[in-house]
Subunit: 298 residues, 2 copies
Amino acid sequence: MYTLSMNIKLETDYVTRINFTPVAPEDATISIFDHGFLFGDSIYEVVRTVNGVPFAWPEHLRRMRNSAVRLAMELPWSDEQLTGEIEAAIESGTWDGETYVRLVITRGVGRIDLMPRTCDDPALIVIAKKLPELRAHLHEVGLTLCVTDIRRNSRDAMDPGIKSGNYLNNVMALIEAREKGTDDALMLNEKDHLTECTTSNFFIVKDGVIKTPSLESGLLAGITRGMLRDIAVDRGMPFEETEITTTDLESADEVFISGTIKGVVPVIKVIGQVNWEGDPGPVTAKIRDEYYTFAGLQ
Amino acid sequence: MYTLSMNIKLETDYVTRINFTPVAPEDATISIFDHGFLFGDSIYEVVRTVNGVPFAWPEHLRRMRNSAVRLAMELPWSDEQLTGEIEAAIESGTWDGETYVRLVITRGVGRIDLMPRTCDDPALIVIAKKLPELRAHLHEVGLTLCVTDIRRNSRDAMDPGIKSGNYLNNVMALIEAREKGTDDALMLNEKDHLTECTTSNFFIVKDGVIKTPSLESGLLAGITRGMLRDIAVDRGMPFEETEITTTDLESADEVFISGTIKGVVPVIKVIGQVNWEGDPGPVTAKIRDEYYTFAGLQ
């Protein structure tokens, strides 16, 4: 069915493991009766290595177990087993440099029924590849965002705090953002509060205070976001989790985003329902440098 | 990887086809690099046969093409090709009676990136099985519903009018409904208007008028729902698509739901944020009989 080597088709080397067994990327498949395929009924995490060691893995593991609880998904594996899978994937990589690892857990094979009661065995999938080089120029040039017409899923409906395989909300927002010529989408919730970008958290700086949307706004509790908060508090940098509107954004001094893979990246322009422009600023540079030092990234 | 025969594990016979080729159910797999698996980036339809012929297939095909347009998914197949796949699956079934057919189209294999730009080839999956016997007693006994705390995804976020592989909103609602001892979940939107159940549309009858939530409330434009409307209008039965609140539901004379597989089924009890009880009523029986006659089901 898949005649092309996945590594050739996807233009990079991959390590893939399914249910604790290494498989070639072109043989890495999942049953069409798996609810992870039928309904997006799966959870996942992405980690990166620093000096070959998974960074902040305990935090990611805790979040993954929380996602499982929220979806009433019972995981039959110990922390040691899950950690072992991450390590096995990293050790199998033959590339130079750091590793990107994606761990996906699906509901498993079951009858075609939304209720997962016939899904006895969740499946565990690991995909690893060389970590993309941090595009260093981004730290000088910065990214552009679009506040999209697509709203972020509501906490009351499909809570963005659950890191699941239901990503069409973000896919549609990203398509809209790219059509409008920007790098990423920034989504409002139903109350007109800003939430997050499609795979990163969002921050503004105003009068020296770093502000990021509170979890109540409906967003993923990013691991990097949490570390930036802790670092800011520790270093005496004012930091607020709060409601942020487009009006707040319009008057921001600096804007930046954060994520496990992209780190901390300045934003230089936001369009859509706002019109904000600015340069990468000193507060962004300071929190980024503090974070990179903390993470051992420089 | 899948050592059990899927037919044994799932306790029924299946016909499965992938990309126009018949495959055994246990070999029916999809790449873990398919965005349908990674992000739930897929669309689908379910049809049933009547006397061996797919019922209302043109309407399902039209809705599927609309879902594809909404997700900017280009389908390389003609209507004839898609129809041929449905027919091929039906012809391959060795069971007696009618057939259930599920057609899934995924975004295809691509890099791990929400943007589908590297996904060149959508995958086409067909699953067929014997249509479950209509549980005739349901027409006398009726179903129970729970208005869940889980809200329906908003039209502005992940429009329920797109029939996609992102079904966790419904899965979570159904889990809540079952925990509360009811058969299905009934979901409110963010404006406190009733929308739909997890795999069916919702109707109340009040003073002889059949009322169903309007598409603006955020729901799938059910094929059966549309036929019931057309039949009602044709037979001079008052029918309204409108906003429906829990207060409207509390005062309803009859409640019923509709769907491709379940047909028209009376509801006898709704709990959750309401407390409604009633018997299967004459208007439900009449529209059901008219629909079954129209569909050739009796």
